[in-house]
Symmetry: C2
Subunit: 720 residues, 2 copies
C-alpha cells in the first residue's frame, strides 16, 4: 500500500462563527461536499454535482441516552483536509488491484454546553461520498449509548427506488421498484410469508443498500461501510419531502449502540453516477474499510464447490437423520433413532459427491445435515440445538475426510446455529478444534431463526460484533467463512479476506420451494446487496422446474438454464457453488462445461452494459491468465444486447464459446432450451446477443492458438 501524503493541512482556531461552510471536492472536481454549522450550531451536509444538489441540506447528529442530544449547539474547533491516491492489492476480488483516490476532510466541533468534541470525517471520491462520525478520546465523553442516529439523506426528488422492506432480522425479500412516495414496506413484507424470521419495522422503512434513480438520470446507492461495533442502518422514508433518515437496529432494551470514546461510527456512503455501470464498478465500500488484518493470506483460496444441499431443498434428501422430535443434543442416543431413509449426509452420498467433485475439478464439497440435532432445530427459540462436533450415525467423518483428501477435494464444514448464538459461541472453540483435527479449511455458517440472546436482532450491534468475532476466530485458525443469514455485508471482506461470502439476501433456494425470485432479481442484486460484498447465491440450477422431482410441485427457478450459467460471471463471488444435483449436471455435460471452466477469481472486470431491474452484462479476465468470461442476463423481457469486446488485446485472435438461450427459450415455458456456439472474435467484435425472457448468456473467450482457429468462423458484427 502506498499513500501519496497529505497535501495540505489547515487549522483554524475560531471558536464562534455564524453559519459556516466547509467545502470538499472530489479528485476530479465533479462532486462537491459541503459541511455546514448553522446559526443554532446544528451540523448538516450537502452533496452536489455541478449545479445539481444530489443530497440537499441534511442533518447530522445523535440523540444519546440520558444525555443532551448531540445535534445542535456546536461550535467550530478546527478542520483539516488531505488527499490520498493509492492502489492496493486484493487477496481475491473482481480485480487484482483497487485504486483508492479521495479527498478527505475532518471537521472538529465542540458542543458548547457539554464540552463534547465530535468530528465528522468525509472522504469524497470521483464516484461518491463516505462520511462518518468520530468521538475522540476526551474528558467530557467516555461511555455513552446511542438512542437515535439523526443522519439524513435528503434526496432531490421523488426518485425511483429499488427497495426491500426495512427489517432487522432478514434481507430475504425480493425487491420492489417504486417511487419513494409509493414505498409501502409492510404491505410488501406481507407478500413473503416464506421467510422464516420476518419482522418488518414500519411501512415507510427500507433497507440499504438502497438504489435510487432520478428522473434526470442519476443513479444513487445509499449504504454503509465498515459496520463494526455498531448497529446496522436502515432508512425511514419521508414520502413528502424525500428525506431518508437513519434508523438503527435496537437491542432487547431498545438501546441502539453502546460506545466508548475513542470510537467511530461506520461510514455512511453515497455512490453516484449518471452511468449505471459506474455503480457496479464503484469500490468506495471496500476503500472505506480497513486494510487486511491477516498477515499471511496464502491459505485463503477462492473456491468452486458442490454440495449435499439442493437435494434437501427439492425434498430428495433431509437434513435430519430420523423423524423423531424428542431429541436432546446432550443426552439422545442417536444410534437408537429410527433412520427416516432420506438422510442426505451419509458416508455413501458424501463419497459420491467427492467423486463427482474430483472428476469435474471442483475444489470442495459442502455437506449439510452431517451433525446431530436437525430433528428439532428450527422455529422454537431453542438454545441447545447443535453441538457442531457430533456426526449422525450414518456419517463417518474420518472415512469421508480420508476419502476427500485422497481425491484432493476439500470438505466444507457446516455450522447452522439456528439463531442460537450463545450456544454457538460456547461451542465454537470445540468446533474449531474439531475442524482443525479433521483438516477443514472452510465453513458455511447459518443463522436461521430468532436470535438468542433473546431480543437481539440479526442486525443489532451485538450480532454485528458476533459475526466479526467468528470471522476473526476462523482467521486465527486458517478457516474461510461463508455466513448465511448474517447482517448484510459492508465491505469487511477487505479487512477479513477469509470471510469469502455471505448470503444476506434472497438466494436461489427460494426458487425451489416458494414463489421464488422474479426474473429481474439477479439484475438488481449487483446494484444493491453485492455492493457490500460477495454473495453465496448458489447459481447453476439446470433442472429448472421442480415437477421433475414430484409432479405435484409447481415451483421453479425463474430463469433459463443459460442464465444460470451467466450468473457465475454477473454475480461475483469467490465462493461459488454449482448448486444442482450431480445427476442434473450429468444430463447436460455440454452446458456443465462452462461451470467447470469458469474461474472464481479475477484480474480485471469490465462492466459493459447494465440497467438495474432490466439487464446486466459483465466481462471478467481470469486471475493470472489471458481468458475472459462474459455474462449477460435479462429480466422477464427478451432483449438483444450489443456487447463490444474492445477489452480484448487488439490484434489478437480469440475463440468465444457462447452458452446462450435456445431459439424458443423462455424462463416459464421452455427454460432448459440452450445452445452452444463457437466463433473467432477479436477486440473489434461487437456481439449482438439475444437473451430470452428471463434468459442469459455465458461466454468463455480464450486466446486462440493458431491450430484452434481452423474452420472456426469469425463472429460477424451486425450491420457489417
Amino acid at each position: 500500500m502506498m499513500k501519496f501524503g497529505i497535501v495540505f493541512c489547515l487549522v483554524l482556531v475560531c471558536l464562534q462563527l455564524q453559519a459556516q461552510q466547509y467545502i470538499l471536492y472530489s479528485p476530479n472536481g465533479n462532486l462537491k461536499c459541503s459541511l455546514q454549522i448553522d446559526n443554532a450550531g446544528a451540523l448538516s451536509y450537502t452533496l452536489q454535482s455541478g449545479n445539481t444538489e444530489l443530497i440537499k441540506n441534511s442533518q447530522l447528529g445523535f440523540n444519546l441516552k440520558n444525555a443532551k442530544p448531540l445535534k445542535s449547539d456546536f461550535v467550530f474547533v478546527f478542520t483539516d483536509t488531505s488527499v490520498t491516491d493509492e492502489t492496493w492489492n486484493t487477496v481475491w476480488g473482481e480485480s487484482k488491484t483497487i485504486r483508492n483516490n479521495y479527498h478527505r476532510r475532518i471537521l472538529t466541533v465542540q458542543q458548547k454546553t457539554t464540552g463534547i468534541i465530535l468530528q465528522i470525517e468525509c472522504k469524497i471520491f470521483n464516484d461518491g461520498l463516505g462520511f462518518r462520525y468520530l468521538f475522540p478520546q476526551q474528558d467530557n465523553l467516555k461511555y455513552f449509548i446511542i438512542s437515535d442516529e439523526l443522519t439524513e439523506f435528503h434526496v432531490n426528488g421523488n426518485h425511483n427506488a429499488f427497495w426491500l422492506p426495512g427489517d432487522f432480522d432478514t434481507n430475504e425479500y425480493a425487491y420492489t421498484q417504486s417511487r419513494l412516495s409509493d414505498v409501502h414496506a409492510i404491505e410488501s413484507a406481507q407478500k413473503y410469508p416464506e421467510i422464516a424470521t420476518r419482522n418488518p419495522i414500519g411501512d415507510n422503512i427500507v433497507q440499504t443498500p438502497l438504489l435510487l434513480k432520478s428522473d434526470d438520470g442519476w443513479y444513487m446507492s445509499i449504504h454503509e461501510a465498515a459496520l463494526v461495533n455498531y448497529a446496522a442502518m436502515e432508512l425511514i422514508v419521508d414520502k413528502q419531502n424525500f428525506i431518508l433518515t437513519t434508523t438503527l437496529a435496537p437491542d432487547a432494551l431498545g438501546n441502539l449502540c453502546y460506545l466508548s470514546a475513542p470510537c467511530s461510527t461506520p461510514w455512511r456512503t453515497i455512490i453516484v453516477s449518471k452511468k449505471a455501470t459506474d455503480i457496479l464498478a464503484s469500490r468506495i465500500i471496500l476503500n472505506l474499510n480497513a486494510p487486511c488484518v491477516i498477515e499471511n493470506t496464502t491459505w485463503i483460496k477462492p473456491m468452486k464447490f458442490i454440495g449435499i444441499w439442493w437435494g434437501m431443498h427439492v425434498d430428495k434428501y433431509t437434513w435430519n437423520y430420523s423423524n423423531s422430535k424428542n431429541i436432546n443434543i446432550e443426552t439422545t442416543d442417536w444410534t437408537s433413532l429410527k433412520p427416516n431413509g432420506k438422510h442426505g449426509a451419509t458416508t455413501e452420498n458424501a463419497m459420491e459427491y467427492i467423486d463427482f467433485a474430483a472428476s469435474n475439478g471442483f475444489d470442495g464439497v459442502l455437506i449439510e445435515g452431517w451433525n446431530v440435532g436437525w430433528e428439532d432445530w428450527f422455529g422454537n427459540w431453542k438454545e441447545n440445538v447443535f453441538d457442531f462436533v457430533t456426526p449422525y450415525p450414518d456419517f463417518d467423518v474420518d472415512a469421508v475426510q480420508a476419502y476427500a483428501e485422497k481425491r484432493h477435494v476439500q470438505i466444507i464444514m457446516h455450522h447452522e446455529t439456528s439463531g442460537s448464538v450463545t450456544n454457538y459461541e460456547r461451542r465454537l472453540p470445540a468446533a474449531i478444534d474439531f475442524m482443525k483435527a479433521h483438516n477443514y479449511h472452510a465453513v458455511k455458517t447459518g443463522y436461521v431463526g430468532k436470535i438468542i440472546p433473546r431480543g437481539e436482532y440479526h442486525d443489532g450491534q451485538w450480532m454485528v460484533n458476533h459475526y466479526i468475532y467468528v470471522a476473526e476466530m476462523f482467521a486465527k485458525n486458517e478457516i474461510m467463512l461463508d455466513a448465511h443469514e448474517p447482517v448484510r455485508p459492508t465491505g469487511l471482506s477487505r479487512t477479513y479476506p477469509n470471510w469469502l461470502a455471505c448470503e444476506a439476501a434472497r438466494g436461489n433456494e427460494f426458487n425451489a420451494w416458494s414463489k421464488g425470485n422474479p426474473p429481474e432479481h439477479e439484475t438488481i442484486l449487483p446494484f444493491t446487496r453485492l455492493l457490500g460484498g460477495p454473495m453465496d447465491y448458489t447459481p447453476g440450477i439446470f433442472q429448472i422446474k421442480m415437477d421433475y422431482y414430484d409432479a405435484k410441485k409447481t415451483t421453479q427457478v425463474h430463469t433459463t438454464l443459460a442464465k444460470q450459467l451467466a450468473l457465475y460471471v454477473t454475480m461475483y463471488s469467490p465462493f461459488q457453488m454449482a448448486a444442482d444435483l450431480p445427476e442434473n449436471y450429468r444430463a447436460h455435460p455440454d452446458a456443465f462445461q462452462f461451470i467447470k471452466d469458469v474461474p472464481v477469481d479475477w484480474d480485471e472486470t469490465k462492466y459493459i452494459s447494465a440497467e438495474p431491474g432490466d439487464y446486466i452484462a459483465i466481462a471478467r479476465k481470469e486471475k493470472n491468465g489471458n481468458n475472459w468470461y462474459l455474462g449477460a442476463i435479462t429480466d422477464e423481457n427478451a432483449r438483444t444486447l450489443n456487447l463490444s469486446l474492445d477489452f480484448l488485446d487488439s490484434g489478437k485472435d480469440y475463440i468465444i464459446t457462447i452458452y446462450c438461450d435456445g431459439e424458443t427459450a423462455d424462463w416459464k415455458n421452455n427454460p432448459m432450451d440452450y445452445r452452444i456456439e463457437k466463433y473467432r472474435v477479436n477486440s473489434k467484435t461487437i456481439l449482438s446477443q439475444t437473451l430470452a425472457p428471463g434468459g442469459g448468456a455465458a461466454m468463455e473467450i480464450t486466446l486462440a492458438k493458431s491450430d484452434e482457429l481452423q474452420g472456426l468462423k469469425l463472429y460477424k458484427n451486425k450491420g457489417k
Copy 2:
C-alpha cells in the same frame, strides 16, 4: 444409595369429579399436605400440622404466553404415591451422611379444553414440604413460555418475617425484620446505595429463602430447590391476606421461562418446625436436588485459604496495576502503563502470601487482580472487560505457580466477569486451558454489574443456566468453583459438589467500606441464605476498625474479634477464607490458632441453640476425627448461653479451648478484647458462655490424652 421401594401405587380412572382432595402425610404423620381440584377444575394445596393450617388453601398453576392459562379446567387423570427412606453420603458437608425420608404423591391432571397434561409432584418430609410441576412428554404441549407462575403460599397470619427486598440482580441487602403487613421493600432497598447493581422490583416483593415466625411459635422457611433451566422465584406479599405469590425473574423481553416438555420446575419448599434449630438442621433442599453427577469426586477437597483480597477492600492494595482509564483488553500494551504502586497481585506479594499459607497450614491462596483489565472493569456495561489469561506485567504466573507447588499451596484462580457473561463464555475454554496448564484446581468467579446479554438479570433463566454451565465445565476439568454474585443457591452443590460455595448474600466485605452488616446479620444468614448452600462469607477479620489503615475511615466490622472466630463454625462452608491480612494475624497469634485449627469439613453437626436474629450455637465434629468445634454468636445484645456438651462421648475426658470475648468486649467500643481459656469438659458439662454485644465464642474440644489433663481444671457447671 438405597431406596426402600414403592409401597403402594394407586391408579384411579375417573375423568370427571367434583372438588376432589388428595392427602399425603409426612413419615411421622405430623404434617399433612392436601392437593385439591375444585369445582372449576382449579388446583390448590394446603399444609397442616395437627389442626394448624400452616399454609391455607393456595393456588397452583401458570399463565402461558399466547396460550390458555394453566390454572383451571383441570380434571383428575390419576395419582400415585410412594415412600422413600434412604441415606446418602455427602462428598463434603455438615454431616457425613444425610437421611432422605419422605412420602411422595404425583397427581396427574388434564386441562379439558387444551388436553394438556400437568403433574404436581409432592414430597412431604417430617420437617416440611417440597412440590413441583411436571410437564410430561405429550402431543398437546411441546415448546411453551411461562408468562406467570401462579403458585401461592397462603400463610396463616401476619407473621414476623426476616426479608430482603425483592431484586433479581442482588442479594446483598441486610435483612429487615417486620410483620408481613409492614414489608416496604423499596424503602428498605434505598438504604443500601453501596450495592453496585440494585434493582428492587416492587415495594411488596421479597426474596427467598424467606424466614417467617408465627405468633404461636412456628418457624417457616419458604424457598426453592434444584433451580435448573428456570428463573429464580421471589414472593409478592399480600399484606392484608398474607398470601405470598410467586414472581419470577424475566428476560429482556419480559418472558419468564422458555420450556420444552418433558420438563419440570424447581421444587417449591416449605420447611416448618416449632424448633428454630430444626430449620438449621433441615436437609430438605439438598434432598430435593439430584444426586451427584460427577463420577470421580476424589479431587474435590474442601479448602481453607487466605488471599490477596482484603487489602483491596481496605485500600492498602488495588486490583488494577495502573490508573490509566484508556485501556483495551485486546490492544493495550500493558507494560507501557505507569504502575500505580499499590497493585496487590504482584509476584512478591503472592510469594509472601504463599509463605504465610504454607507456614500456617492453609490449603490455598486466592489472588485477585492478577489479570489485566481492572483499570476499567466496572459500571459501564462494557463487554470485553477481561480475558482471564493475561497477567499484569508485575505478576509472573509461572514463577508464582512454581513457588506455590514447592510450598504445597494451591493458587486459587480468579475470574471476575463484571457481569459480561457473553465475554466470559467466549473466553472460558481458553481460561480453562490456562488453568489446566498452570495446575489450578479452584476458581472464584464474580458477576459484579449489569449482565450482558443486556437486559438479562442475575436471577433469570438464562443466567441460572449459565452458572450451571460453568459449574459443569469446571467439573469436567476437575476445577472447584466459588461463585460470587450469582443467583442464590438452591442445593445444587449436591449435584455438582465441585461447586463448593457461593456468595449470593451480603458478605463480610461490606464491613470494610460501607455501613456494614448489623451484628444480627450472621444470626439470620444460617436461617435464610445458607439453607440453599454454603456461603463464602470471608470471616476472620481481626483488625475490626478500619481507622487502623487510615485515621479518616469510620467503617468497621460489626462484631467482636471472638465472633469472627465463631463464624468458622456457625457459617458452614467447605471453602473458608481467613480473610484478614497476614500482618493482622501475626499480631494475634493466639487467636489465629483457632483459624489454623478449625476444619472445613464435618462428620456431624449439632444445632445446640438458636433464635433467628438473636443468637446461634452450633457444634460440629471434624471429618474422620474425634474433635469437636463449637461456635456461638449473638446479635447486638450481650447474652449468656447455656451450652450442653451432651454430644460428647460419655465417660470420656475432653479438653476445651474457648476463644471468647474479653470482659469489656463490645463490637463497637472494644471489639478486639478477647481471652482464651482451657478446661476439662465431658458430656455432662453445660457451658455457661457469656457473649459480648456483637460477640461470640469459638471452641475447640479435643479428646484428651491423659498427660494433657495435668493441671487443667474441670469446667464447673453453673449451679453445681
